[in-house]
């Protein structure tokens, strides 16, 4: 296809660089500098896609972010992108785009049958039907869902990379039009740190679409010079293709920078970068978006925004039609008529809703020989697949109806303008308010919660001179408030002004019949929301603007109502008989300003970098040993070490037996370790732990339980007294950080008088725990300065010395019930010592074991695991641990023991369970019932907290929390599991070496 609609001259495109692309499989050509939209227009494409609900043919209506219609699916495969606005896709070689939401093609779409039933489908129709039969909705929904959505999601993982950046500045300027550039210049000249961003690939905003002069040079020269000056300023950052998508509390902004186009394999370049900007001041120079007029069948391909038509001509050198009608309520659209004329496109007429358009621009239009039809409106647009003609009639006196005879004007383009809406989105994101300015017919920013200001067109100041002035003032002021007061002697640039006359506000233009009866007055083009829908919502009582929005889905599409919202609210106001649309208000503007990929939000935190893997010093040894890992918080801990051909149970059995019959070795480095020092350390421990600490001897260890104030168990661990005022506390792996936080909180906020310092030493030490009958023999090969005999180093004792020549602390503490030694060495020696122990231990049958075996062994002894036996609802008494509760002192949580619920006799208690069939293994998390029965619901008396097969016992066993459990010892209880119910006997929660002889051995 040739570029039939390409103008011979003009535009910022490079005619020497043709770019090939395909649209719906058709090969086409555009030029470097085109957007997909301008290239489609150049190629004479009118129908780009179909609308959401009625599947009406839709063309291109805008030239920028406000485009609601022209959405395409870009590319296929892993890099495909859904719902891309053709107006924002920069053309690149090989681009391939397809229409969405239509089948088989946008020109002939089977679902357009929907528009036949449109009368049955007013706003909210689905709330009123599909209710019978009761089970029917399932099927209706199935069908409705098939129609859902616009484009298609990729189905392959995203091959691209995304990036984050965190920066700080004094002045952030959003928007690089006349206002923003001026503000950045003024702020930059003070030496302040400035960031200037614009979403487009070119700076200049509206200036790019007009032919203004500034300081007697062309606007484009002025922009060039300004950017050149900015680039010389060391602390100024200028980012193009960068959208400020959100503005948050405390002057925090999110920017999305697009860095590679879709086809390039970014290589080392990330596709998009999300900038986090903390600024001292923010200047919002985000411009204004033109709003369409709302008239009958204003969705036909060929109905466009007047400014967009101008943009296509000036910036891209394409003509969106051959014969145009301008439809306006203001002067600005006359510029489009003049531009069309200059580009040798016929202008059939300018239809102006105002009675006497006599400003300078209308005068110019008349001079150019263009017919102006005043006090008139379009009552209908003919041409289902594209504008063929319009019907024009005069407005009656009240402007709520038409009069006279209709005149048909042949045309293929309608350029409509209903005025301009300041872009106050960012201002609103961060809690700023908006107020309606009746005179200008716009919402503008009022109070802000941030150090920010809207300027230029974003503040409703549409004259270029004002924008420049305001930009300079605001830039300077912002810098000054941020502490940069250096004055610049440079003058504010001067631009010529055309004074424009006020617009005439008629929100929904009347037609020959009432709205809704003939034609459709579209407000939200993407969601097919019409003025009739809004009126219906008002009629039915969905009268709050927020109700109307949700009932009709006005403004809820990907464009978020950039063109439709304000007219929609005004139509609602009218329907409610409210004069001032400000009284109806706007719906809430929310981030993002334009859609942002999930990938950009996630940034680099994907794949292997999703979250840190914390590694112990021996991590890579375990990995070589092909262990299976267990995730515990961010740590990886060896779960078990299967040998070739071993099942998990085989491996665990082998490990369990070795630990009890030979020697087992466990990497316990992940346990939290806190160094506690100070004259009040013992008193501090007395308050934190439930038991007493004052009398613990130096070199001795003691087990402690920590509660929260509600009396529930929070953490446990062994604390050792290292010196007079010096303790080493250990915590569970997952609670290491929270326990340190807990200690600091009490010390700093409640007991600042206590002289205690706490420091984490978790990472300073590698902890190797060896246990079993051969443990002592093995260890004694490694030390000659620590007497390992039971008398010298008894259970719950600690000695410092060397192990394998490394300075070490050896603790006689045991979580397995075996005689065990916990060896702490400086972390960087952990791997060396581990390796040596493995070599020397071979003759003793040394076996590395993981967390699973550790859990089995401790459960055989009835030792609890915080977070497994406990769940935040368990008190020490529930575990039969009354012995650890000091009666002589207060401690955190103690008071809660006397609350009525703590005193309940039927509280759950820790017990053992032995399945009657020793080969039945209960499910952890299994629920316990007192009687067998198939009825549901059935009362539950507790649950299984831990359950294993024990190779040492030769049978299965479990721990459980059971209501009144201690009283039930000897009883039978039942655990219903999938398929069968397992009968168990309740026992005491200890299954192995209940005298503790091995422990002390």
């Amino acid at each position: 296809m040739a570029q039939t609609n390409r103008l011979a001259l003009g535009g910022d495109i490079d005619r020497t660089k043709p770019v090939n692309f395909t649209f719906n499989g058709h090969h086409m050509q555009g030029y470097a500098g085109d957007t997909l939209a301008s290239a489609l227009i150049a190629n004479g494409v009118r129908i780009v896609g179909r609308s959401f609900k009625y599947h009406r043919p839709r063309g291109i209506m805008a030239a920028g972010t406000e485009e609601a219609n022209a959405l395409v699916q870009l590319e296929t495969g892993a890099r495909t992108l859904a719902n891309q606005q053709a107006t924002r896709v920069e053309l690149y070689e090989g681009l391939s785009a397809t229409s969405i939401n239509c089948w088989p093609s946008p020109d002939f779409d089977l679902m357009s049958i929907n528009s036949w039933f449109h009368r049955l489908m007013p706003a909210g129709f689905y709330y009123k039907t599909f209710m019978w039969p009761v089970s029917g909705w399932k099927y209706y929904e199935h069908i409705i869902r098939r129609a859902a959505g616009l484009g298609k999601s990729p189905v392959e993982p995203d091959p691209d990379q995304y990036d984050h950046m965190h920066v700080h500045c004094d002045v952030l300027v959003v928007g690089g039009g006349a206002s923003g550039i001026s503000a950045a210049l003024a702020a930059g000249r003070t030496g302040a740190r400035v960031i200037l961003v614009d979403e487009s690939k070119d700076f200049g905003g509206q200036l790019l679409n007009e032919q203004y002069t500034i300081n007697n040079k062309s606007a484009s020269r002025w922009i060039e010079d300004a950017l050149a000056e900015l680039s010389t300023m060391e602390d100024v950052t200028v980012l193009k293709r960068t959208t400020a998508f959100g503005y948050y509390d405390h002057n925090y902004a999110g920017l999305l920078e697009t860095r590679t186009d879709i086809l390039t394999d970014g290589g080392d370049k990330t596709r998009q970068r999300l900038w986090h900007v903390r600024t001292k001041r923010c200047v919002l120079a985000t411009g204004a978006l033109e709003r369409p007029l709302i008239f009958s069948d204003n969705d036909r391909p060929g109905v466009m925004l007047a400014s967009a038509v101008r943009t296509y001509i000036q910036r891209y050198g394409v003509k969106p039609g051959n014969k145009a009608v301008i439809f306006t309520n203001n002067d600005d659209a006359y510029r489009t008529a003049l531009a069309l004329k200059e580009a040798a496109v016929k202008v059939a007429a300018i239809i102006d809703t105002r009675p006497v358009p006599d400003g300078e621009l209308p005068t110019q239009a008349i001079a150019a020989g263009i017919e102006i039809i005043d006090n008139a409106t379009i009552t209908g647009v003919n041409g289902g697949r594209g504008v063929k003609s319009v019907e024009v009639m005069s407005l009656n006196a009240a402007a709520d109806g038409v009069m006279g005879v209709a005149r048909t004007i042949l045309c293929d383009l309608v350029a409509s303008s209903g005025g301009w809406n300041p872009v106050i989105h960012l201002h609103s994101h961060s809690g700023g308010k908006a107020k309606f300015d009746q005179a200008r017919g716009i919402f503008i920013a009022s109070e802000t919660l941030q150090a920010s200001e809207c300027i230029g067109a974003a503040n409703g100041d549409f004259l270029l001179g004002d924008c420049l002035n305001e930009g300079f003032r605001a830039g300077k002021e912002a810098a000054s408030k941020a502490g940069f007061k250096k004055a610049s002697r440079r003058k504010i640039p001067i631009a010529e002004h055309i004074v424009e006359h006020p617009l005439r506000l008629i929100w929904a233009l009347p037609s020959t019949k009432s709205i809704g009866e003939r034609g459709k007055h579209f407000l939200d083009l993407q969601h097919d929301v019409t003025a009739a829908d809004v009126q219906l919502a008002a009629r039915e009582g969905y009268a709050s603007v927020e109700h109307t929005k949700r009932y009709t889905t006005l403004g809820m599409a990907t464009d978020q109502g950039k063109t439709g919202n304000i007219p929609g609210m005004a139509v609602l106001a009218q329907a409610l008989g409210v004069d001032n649309p400000g009284d109806v208000g706007t719906t809430t503007f929310r981030p993002p300003y334009t859609p942002v990929t999930l990938g950009a939000f996630a940034g680099r935190n994907v794949g292997v970098l999703t979250d840190p893997v914390r590694m112990t010093p021996m991590h890579h040894w375990h990995e070589l040993a092909a262990c299976k890992w267990e995730d515990v918080g961010q740590w990886k801990r060896p779960w078990y070490y299967p040998k070739q051909g071993e099942s998990m149970q085989d491996a665990v059995n082998r490990e369990c037996l070795a630990a009890r019959n030979a020697v087992g070795i466990l990497d316990a480095s992940t346990l939290g370790k806190i160094d506690i020092q100070g004259p009040d350390a013992a008193e501090f421990l007395n308050r934190i732990y439930t038991n007493a600490w004052s009398k613990l001897a130096i070199g001795k260890c003691r087990y402690g339980l920590m509660l929260k104030e509600d009396g529930m168990i929070f953490d446990d661990g062994v604390t050792t007294r290292l010196g007079e005022n010096h303790y080493l506390m250990t915590t569970t792996t997952s609670n290491a950080a929270s326990v340190l936080g807990w200690l600091e909180e009490w010390l700093q906020t409640e007991w600042p008088d206590l002289k205690v310092y706490c420091n984490s030493v978790t990472e300073a030490w590698a902890t190797l725990s060896i246990c079993g009958p051969n443990a002592r023999a093995l260890l004694s090969e490694f030390t000659d300065d620590i007497d390992l005999t039971p008398d010298a180093l008894p259970f719950m004792g600690m000695k410092e010395g060397t192990v394998g020549g490394i300075p070490a602390r050896v603790f006689r503490i045991s979580f397995t019930g075996e005689c065990s030694f916990e060896i702490n060495v400086p972390a960087s020696y952990g791997l060396a010592l581990w390796t040596q122990l493995m070599v020397a231990g071979e003759k003793y049958g040394i076996t590395p074991y993981g967390t699973e075996t550790m859990h089995v062994l401790r459960a055989e002894k009835g030792y609890i695991i915080v977070g497994q036996e406990t769940d935040g609802t368990v008190m020490p008494q529930d575990l039969g641990m009354d012995w650890i509760l000091s009666k002589k002192k207060d401690f955190i949580g103690r008071r809660s023991f006397t609350r009525p619920d703590s005193q309940r006799t039927e509280r759950k208690k820790l017990v053992g369970l032995l399945p009657v069939n020793p080969n039945d293994i209960l499910e952890e998390g299994g629920q316990v019932v007192a009687e067998k029965g198939d009825h549901r619901p059935i009362p539950m008396i507790g649950h299984v907290t831990s359950s294993y097969y024990s190779a040492n016992l030769g049978r299965s066993f479990a721990l459980a929390m059971i209501s009144n459990g201690t009283e039930r010892i000897g009883d039978r209880v039942y655990v219903p599991m999938d398929g069968k119910t397992i009968t168990c006997e309740v026992t005491a929660p200890i299954f192995f070496d209940s005298e503790g002889t091995r422990l002390h051995g």
Partner: protein, 416 residues
């Protein structure tokens, strides 16, 4: 109330839909009511509806400071399920689910309940143990619940990444097949319309500024539209529970936090169930319109701003990208925040207070949308009879004094 049906639609189409009656009236507040419900969210409206329907108390005003349904009801991710751990919770939420199952017909308003199944993923051994505990408890309580292997998960959610090599692999999941989603606005609107039809006055744009007491008894409320009297006043203001309770010197164990949610651009159906994960925090479903509805984690500080922090959203979307790397190129179209009122035990309060005639319903936190029908149903009972129903008796305010908390943290972390 004129009945909605396909026939009424057809009839009205003939007349260009000019003749639909208002879904609810907008009456001027009367001087006196038998009961005042403060808060026109789903819970408040449901309370009013059941007061009228179940207890014949129709001289009721629902007073809403903004637009009805505009609080958390209008901004939640609409997940409905009843698979709660403790008996008390399971009973309450199951009652709710059962009411939901007949709600479209009961209200004659299609709330689009879509029982597409809710999955809770397990990413570590601890998760598995906790999920199994829950699945077992729920089943024995007579509620549907199953445990799924990764392969079974994949067959239901084909787009999920179950590779064991990812940072937090999917090791299993629980599923409640009767769980799902519903149109949140329709729930509020349906209750409003049905309550209004039974005579309840729904008064919007009217803020309660004080609770009037005489001795230890409530007598009415001050509002921005004057004093309104009633011997019974019920607070159902979710995020604002503490603010309202303070007006009657009632202290609550509640803190209000921002909770955010967001939607992507609409795409053709690609996700047919609701997927939730606590360990890598995210929850996700696809609406009937095609957008993915995603919920973030709670912000860690008290706030009434209905805005949350960006980094919370980033963490949550990184989690989505971990589980669904194919969604990375989809775009977030809108994100917003609500104000959730959280209790220390992650369970709600549906209770009398120490002030006679004053009732409180709140603390539903991040998970009260699913509770809406049962909350209203039991609360109406409590207000009408001045004593709780067996279902909500455990959810009293006194439990914080007695210690009989219903701690849903242990198993659920965040309960949506």
């Amino acid at each position: 109330m004129k009945k909605y049906s396909i026939f009424s639609l057809a009839r009205n189409a003939l007349n260009f839909h000019q003749d639909w009656e208002k879904a609810w009236r907008s009456p001027e507040p009367k001087k006196n009511y038998d009961a005042i419900i403060i808060g026109g969210g789903g819970h408040g409206l449901a309370t009013a509806y059941y007061l009228a329907k179940e207890h014949g108390i129709t001289n009721v005003a629902v007073i809403e400071k903004g637009w009805l349904g505009g609080g958390n009801t209008g901004r939640n991710t609409t997940i409905i399920r009843s698979n709660y751990l403790w008996d008390e919770s399971a009973r309450m939420y199951e009652k709710s689910l059962q009411l939901y199952e007949g709600l479209s017909q009961d209200l004659n308003y299609n709330i689009m309940l879509s029982q597409r199944g809710v999955l809770n993923l397990a990413h570590n051994l601890h998760d598995i143990r906790e999920l199994k505990r829950r699945v077992n408890a729920i089943k024995l309580n007579g509620i549907d619940s199953e445990f799924l292997t990764p392969e079974q998960i994949k067959s239901i959610v084909p787009m999920i990444n179950i590779s064991p090599a990812i940072r937090y692999p999917v090791l299993g999941a629980s599923i409640q097949r009767r769980g799902g989603v519903a149109r949140h606005d329709a729930v509020a609107w349906g209750y409003a319309r049905a309550a209004d039809a039974r005579g309840v006055d729904i008064i919007q744009q009217c803020e309660v500024t004080g609770i009037i007491r005489d001795g230890g008894r409530v007598t009415g409320v001050n509002t921005t539209r004057g004093v309104i009297n009633a011997p019974k006043v019920a607070i159902v203001t979710a995020g604002h529970s503490s603010v309202l309770a303070a007006m009657a010197d009632v202290r609550l164990p509640i803190s209000s936090f921002p909770l955010q949610a967001m939607v992507t651009e609409p795409v053709k159906p690609i996700l047919n169930s609701v997927v939730m994960s606590n360990a890598v925090h995210c929850y996700i479903s696809q609406s009937d319109k095609g957008e993915l509805v995603l919920g973030a984690g709670i912000d860690g500080y008290n706030s009434y701003t209905q805005r949350g922090s960006l980094h919370i959203v980033e963490e949550q979307l990184a989690a989505v990208c971990l589980l669904f790397p194919i969604f990375s190129r989809l775009r977030i179209m809108r994100k917003w925040g609500g104000i959730v009122d959280t209790c220390p035990d992650a369970s709600p309060i549906v209770s009398k207070t120490h002030v006679d005639g004053l009732y409180i319903n709140g603390g539903w936190g991040t998970g009260g949308f699913k509770g809406t029908p049962a909350s209203g149903w039991t609360f109406a009972h409590t207000i009408a009879r001045d004593e709780p129903h067996a279902l909500n008796a455990p959810f009293n305010l006194d439990r914080f004094t007695s210690g009989s908390l219903i701690d849903e943290h242990g198993a659920a972390a965040v309960a949506h």
